[in-house]
Each structure stands twice: as C-alpha cells, then as structure tokens.
C-alpha cells in the first residue's frame, strides 16, 4: 500500500474516531435533556427544570464539537477519496445529502430555538423544540449509518460504466444490516450519555455529602433523581445494545464472513465452531494460527446460526474463496486489532449492564447510603462507553479491509490520485493539532460546568424585578 493511502487512512481514522467521541454523547444527551424537560413539563417540579438546564449546558458544549468536526467528514470524501467519491457518489451521496437536508437543518435550527427560545415560546412549543432536536440528531445517525452500511453490504445498486449506480433508495435506506446498526448505535448513545449523567450526579452527590447537605437539599434531590433515571436508562439500553448486537453479528456472518472470522480469530472452517474467549496468536498482521485459544465448544455455532452444530467459515477458507473470485491478493484484515476491538466492545456491554443493574439493586435495597462508592465506580465507568464506541467503529471499518466498499472497491484504489503525500501529512498534522487543542478546551469547559453545578433555585421574583433577559 502506498504511503499516501496509509496516511489517508490514518487521517480518516483520526478524524472519525474523534468525531465519534462527541456524536454518541450528543445523541444520548439530547434524549436525556428532552426527557428531563418533559418531566418538568408534566410535574412542574423545579428540580427537573434545573436538571434540564444543567445537563442542557453539558449537551451544548459537546454539541458544538460534534458539529464542527462533522463537516470535516463530509468534505474529506472528496478531498482524500476522490476515486471513491466518483465510484459511489450516486449511492453513498444520496443518504449523505438527505442527512443534511432532513437532519442537520432540523437539529441546527431547533437547537437555536430551544436554547434562545426559553422566554419567547410558550412552554409546550418550547418543549417541542428539544424533541425536534432529538429527531434531528437521531435521524442524522440513521442516514449516515445507512451510507456506511452500504459500504459494508452494498445493496440497491447496479454496476454501470465502472461505477455503482443506485437502483433502489429503499434498499439503501432499509437493509437489515442498517436497521440493526441504527438501533445498536442509538442504544449505545443512551448508554454513553447515561454513564455521563451517572458520573456527574455521583460527583455532585459526593460533594453535597462532604459539605454535610441533607437529603432535602434541592441539589441532592435533583442529582439523586438524575442518577436513578440514568441508571435505568443505561440498564435497559445496554440490554438493547447486546441484543441488537447479537442479530447484527448474525447478519455480518452472512454478509461479511471475513470480518466475523477475524473478530473470532477463527482460521479454519469448523462445524461446530467454538466461541473464543481468549486467543493469543503470533504478533503479526496476519498470523496463521492462534498459540492459545480458550474457547466454549459450540458457542459460535449457536450464537451465529442458532444451530448447535452450525458451520462457521474460517479466515483461510474465505481467503481462498476471495482469491478465486477477486483474483490474487490479501483479503484478510489485521486480525489482532479486529479480534481485540470486538472483545473490548462486548466486554464493556456486559460490564455496563452488570454495573447499572448492581447499582439499581443497591439503591433499591439500601437507599443512597454509599455515594462515595458510587462516585468512584462511576468515574471508572465513564471511560468505558467511549472505548466501546471507538472499538465498535474499529471492528466495522478495519474488519472491512482491504475493501472500502465490500467486494466492489479496494481502499487502496480509492484515494485521490492528485493529492500528494506532503499535502496529506500537512492536513493530518493540522487536524491532529487543532483537535487536540479543542479536546483540551472542551474538557476544561465540561469540568468547569460540572464543578459550578446547576443554577440555584429561583427566589420569588415579581414582574417588576424581572431583569432584562440575556443571551447565552
């Protein structure tokens, strides 16, 4: 692979992984904030309003970076991957354009109306604004995942004149792989945001406890409610993540057998196939075997085919088949990376489920007595969904290699022929530097906002006292 192609891939990886640190949090927090505001609307309890505005602030700090890094992703296809863009524009461009038209306009317009419309819109209309933001961010995920799913499993197209031309938009937007991708991602976003809410609430509760604040304090009430709700959401959403992930994996066994064989480090076709728990192979890009493989007999067969003795094809077998179909070449992704990313993602899924269930049980049995332990475990768990989200993308994107569009176009052949190595080095370094600075600024703002805590409850104010409203 040429140097430029390697750098193009690094640039895409760096920018997308960075972008995807913010996206799930934005999607998830939008649901949380909308839920909190709905609770306020329904009950009229002030702590729900303060909760809405407090987490709304964290949502906005995060949203800004999601927006500005998203635009890089769109332009990058044309900038670094012009052969790809020409090849798939008709199919891949469509969901991208629809995402802009349907989702981005919605979220960007209504987030402005929500943020600055508190005193200009009647309460019910104002509540509708945040739900429209939820619709915008979530549908944005839908369309971009549809575009990505098409790269994993091309459908609804015909090859003509050396490029893929769309023959069915319905197929592109509604293929089974895409449906599972979408629900998996939305549920993972709720887990991500849920654990952030838990961690923030745990910090505030711990602080209140240290300051000797009693359970009747409005802040304590606010954050207990927030943590409790978020733990429920996290528990339920992690069940969805795991469940949907299971069906997704079954589809992938059918559509991208190489990816799944690599994810399981399964070299030879087996029936029944065992489920690998811990495989250690030679430290190579494409090892031929595992040195250590601790496995559950029949496990993979049952999970992948719903059949006790189902046959699962191995890497070596698929490699031979692809050589027959596509000509000589290397059709194996980097096995260690895919295997361990896959395991990391799944482990986090189960850990989060156990964690939230355990805390719900503890709170149910013993109340809020152990806020110190809640705080420390919550901080530790905050990092996990981000790791799992990243690992998920690594499995999806690295597992697809050497294809940029599975079976149709190789990544190596997809780069812009006129963009030189020096240019890509410049932009890669530029993005990395700017993104680093932005991450530091954003993290600092988040920490500051959490430290400052929610706005204090309003004293009684008369209309005459009402101060001029302010912006931002």
């Amino acid at each position: 692979m040429g140097t430029t192609a390697v750098l193009d891939r690094w640039q895409f990886a760096v920018t997308i992984v960075y972008h995807f640190l913010f996206v799930p949090l934005t999607i998830g927090l939008a649901w949380f904030v909308a839920g909190m505001q709905t609770a306020w609307h329904r009950t009229g309890k002030e702590h729900y309003l303060r909760m809405t505005r407090f987490f709304g602030k964290l949502f906005l700090i995060n949203f800004a970076l999601g927006v500005v890094t998203g635009i890089v992703q769109e332009f990058q296809f044309g900038m670094n991957w012009s052969v790809y863009s020409r090849f798939v524009g008709s199919v891949f461009g469509a969901p991208l354009a629809i995402e802009g038209l349907v989702a981005f306009f919605l979220e960007s317009t209504f987030i402005g109306l929500w943020l600055f419309g508190w005193d200009r819109l009647p309460p019910r209309a104002h509540l509708a604004m945040i739900w429209l933001v939820v619709a915008g961010t979530s549908s944005s995920a839908y369309f971009i995942l549809a575009a990505n799913s098409w790269m994993q499993h091309p459908v609804g197209y015909a090859m003509k004149g050396g490029r893929a031309e769309m023959t069915s938009l319905g197929d592109v937007l509604l293929q089974p792989l895409q449906i599972t991708h979408f629900f998996h991602t939305i549920a993972a976003s709720l887990v991500t945001a849920g654990l952030l809410v838990v961690a923030v609430a745990a910090y505030r509760l711990r602080r209140a406890r240290r300051e000797g604040t009693g359970p009747d304090d409005p802040d304590v009430r606010l954050f207990r409610a927030a943590a409790h709700g978020a733990l429920w959401v996290t528990a339920v959403a992690s069940v969805v993540v795991i469940g949907v992930g299971h069906f997704q994996a079954q589809l992938l066994v059918r559509y991208q057998p190489m990816k799944m064989a690599a994810a399981e480090a399964l070299y030879e076709t087996q029936a029944p196939a065992p489920l690998s728990l811990l495989a250690i192979g030679p430290w190579e890009k494409h090892p031929e075997r595992n040195n250590v493989d601790i496995a559950i007999p029949h496990g993979l067969s049952v999970l992948s085919t719903n059949n006790w003795n189902g046959e699962i094809r191995g890497i070596n077998d698929i490699q031979r088949e692809y050589e027959g179909r596509y000509g000589p070449g290397d059709y194996t992704p980097i096995i260690g990376s895919v295997y361990w990313s896959w395991r990391l993602m799944i482990t986090v899924g189960f850990l989060v489920l156990l964690y939230s269930a355990a805390w719900l049980w503890t709170i149910h049995r013993r109340g809020w007595a152990s806020s110190r332990r809640l705080a420390w475990t919550a901080y530790a768990f905050l990092a996990l969904p981000f790791l799992a989200n990243t690992a998920g993308w690594l499995v999806t994107e690295m597992g697809r290699q050497p294809w940029i569009v599975h079976g149709l176009l190789r990544t190596n052949d997809a780069i812009s022929p006129t963009v030189g190595t020096g240019h890509v080095i410049t932009t890669l370094a530029g993005f990395a530097a700017v993104y680093g600075v932005l991450a530091a600024i954003m993290g600092w703002l988040m920490v500051r906002a959490v430290r400052a805590g929610p706005e204090r409850p309003a004293p009684e104010v008369t209309r005459e006292d009402a101060l001029p409203p302010m912006l931002h």
Partner: protein, 368 residues
C-alpha cells in the same frame, strides 16, 4: 448517462446546488460580516455580546446550507464533487479549519467569563470569518475561469494555479461585500446607539466594497463574453446585481438600513447566480487544451438517483424554508448593550415571566 433532452434533471440539480450556495452566501454572508466586525464595533464586552447575539441562535442552521450544498454535489454530480474537493485540497483544508475555529469561537466565547478568554475568541472570530469567504471566492472564481484538468477530470498543476489576480480579487470582493452586508444587518438588528455605529461602519465600508465589486463585475462580464456558453443571463444578473449593491449606500445614508440590507442581499443572490450562470452547463472549466471542461452531463449521477433525490428535495426543501423563516421571525427583536449589561440568572427569568411573555425588543436567552 442522460443527455440534455426531455426533462433535464441535471440542469435542475445544477440549479438546486446553485440555490444552496446562494442561500449559504446570503445567510452566512451576514454572519461572516458580524464575525468580522463585532470586536471593532463593540467597545466593551456587553456590546460585543449584543452584537454577536444577533447571529447566535441562527448561525449554525445557516452553515448547514454549505453542508447540504456539498452533500447534494456528492449525490448529484459525484464527478464534480471529486474533482473540486481533491483539486483544491489545501484550500478546502483552510476552509475547514476556518469553519471549525469560527464555530467553536461562536459557541464557546460566552461559556466562560474571563477577559483574556473572550479576547482570544474575539481575535479568532474575525480572522476565520474573513478567511472562509475569501477562500470560497478563490475557489468559485477559479472554477468559472478555468483550471488545468487532465482527461480524467482531475486538477493538475498543484494548488498554486488557484491564485490568479481574478481569483484573489474575487476573494477580497466577497470579504468586503460581506462586511458591508453584516454591518447593515447589525444596523437592523441592534438598538440604543449600536445601530448608529453599525450604520457608520457600513457607510465607511461602502466605497471599498463598491470599487471591488465594480472591478470584479466588469472583469467577470468581460470574461463571460469570451467564454460563457450562455452569456446573456450572466450580463442580466450582473447588471441587476450592481445597482442593488449600489443602492445600499445611499439607502444607509437615508437611514433606511432594512432597505439597504435588502440591497446587499439582492446583490449577493444575483452575483452568486451570475457566477453559476457563467459556469452552466459546465461545472469546472478546463484551461488545458485537449481536456474538455467538466459538465453537468458528464459528472452527473444516474437517472434513478436524480429522480429519487428530486422527490426528497421537493418534499423537504419547502419544510426547511418554512421553519428557517419562522426562526428568523422568532428572533427578530433588536438587541442592545442593555440586554447583556446586568445578566440575571436565566432561571430567575423563566420562573418570573412564564408563560411566553416577552417584552418588546428584548432578547431571548439561555444562561451562562
């Protein structure tokens, strides 16, 4: 590949993309102007805050116009999208960096209350707000005037080919025009003295913008006469654009800022339309002998894609327009220093005034 004929979807999509770019320049155009001017127009922080607040609720939705223009180009004319973005690689990198910095500056400036923090964003904002229209001006001038293309349609000859006298003039023209556009917008959207100062800025900017605009328009017209396949619409659009721009100065002098703003708005729309009219039916003009220009027909997606996208656009574009106009209406109030001088807690404000009463002319708001 479809050719010109019965129902020309390629032309329709070219027009739609032209409309998206026009919308972007019209709407984000005054955002750029506000971004360039507010640190100079506002003497202290509450004033700057008030000036910036005129675009805070809406800038993000205006930036989506360029995102959709990019996405629509990708979907409808993949060949154009691929050649333009890869051919102008470093320029688009510059545009991306400026878009990132500007977005973060707008969103983060008021999230922390320290003088040095805000001063830094007040430096970053004007630079990035000027860089974006400048670089986009260079890109559009270059693709209408001619770029070296190889037979495949890829730009050859490095990034240097982009910077000609004409393209640099286009860049400066857009920067000056948007500064004027933004100053007039601020004259419409502020009060208590700020609008007077904004009007003064507009009057000072007017001669500069006028000279650049006249030179650019004449140059464009001359070039169109020798190279545009359909020169007449170009002359008409340019011919209308100039008086619309010219009217803005006298109207501002007569204290009719809204009419003057309408003038710069019309001029922006007509000028961008003229550039696209000059281009059509080409999408990138070739300056290389033997390599033909890229056209809407040569770079388009297949018929099915265009039909599917047309149906979706027909449904959603009107909806988007309706709610964007509604958002403009919701945030029509004039702002002043007073609105930001003594910030109350927002919670205070909400609980005091619900439901939905808003004193005339006051701003809406969330708190920091």
């Amino acid at each position: 590949m479809e050719t010109a004929g019965h129902f020309d979807l390629q032309t329709l999509w070219f027009a739609l993309i032209a409309i998206l770019w026009t919308g972007f320049f019209l709407l984000d155009g005054f955002d750029f102007g506000v971004g360039m001017l507010y640190p100079f127009l506002g003497r202290d922080d509450p004033e700057r805050h008030a000036l910036l607040a005129t675009i805070l609720p809406v800038w993000d939705s205006y930036e989506v116009w360029i995102i959709v223009a990019g996405g629509a180009t990708f979907a409808a004319f993949p060949g154009w999208y691929a050649s333009m973005f890869s051919g102008f690689y470093l320029v688009f990198f510059g545009i991306l960096l400026a878009l990132i910095v500007r977005g973060v500056a707008i969103e983060y400036r008021n999230k922390h209350d320290s003088a040095s923090w805000r001063r830094r964003w007040d430096v970053a904002m004007p630079i990035s707000s000027a860089a974006i229209p400048f670089l986009l001006g260079v890109v559009f001038a270059t693709i209408t005037r001619g770029v070296p293309l190889d037979p495949r349609g890829d730009v050859t000859g490095g990034q240097g080919v982009l910077f000609s006298g004409y393209s640099v003039l286009a860049g400066f023209t857009l920067v000056a025009a948007f500064a004027l556009h933004g100053a007039l917008f601020l004259a419409v959207r502020t009060r208590d003295g700020l609008e007077e100062r904004a009007r003064g800025f507009a009057l000072a900017l007017y001669p500069v913008a006028a000279v650049l605009l006249i030179v650019f328009t004449v140059w464009t017209a001359v070039q169109a006469s020798s190279s545009a396949p359909y020169p007449t619409p170009v002359y008409v659009l340019l011919g209308l654009s100039l008086p619309a721009a010219a009217a803005s100065g006298p109207l501002a002098l007569l204290k009719r800022p809204l009419a003057a703003f309408a003038g710069t708005s019309a001029a922006t729309v007509l000028l961008v339309a003229a550039l696209f009219a000059r281009l059509y039916p080409r999408v990138m003009v070739s300056s290389t002998a033997g390599s033909p220009s890229l056209t809407v027909y040569g770079t388009a997606s297949n018929h099915y894609s265009l039909v599917a996208m047309t149906i979706i656009a027909a449904v959603f574009v009107p909806v988007v327009l309706v709610y964007q106009v509604w958002a403009l209406w919701v945030f029509r109030a004039r702002l002043s220093r007073e609105d930001f001088a003594r910030p109350p807690t927002p919670l205070h404000m909400i609980t005091a005034k619900r439901p939905g009463s808003s004193p005339g002319g006051a701003a809406a708001g969330d708190g920091e």
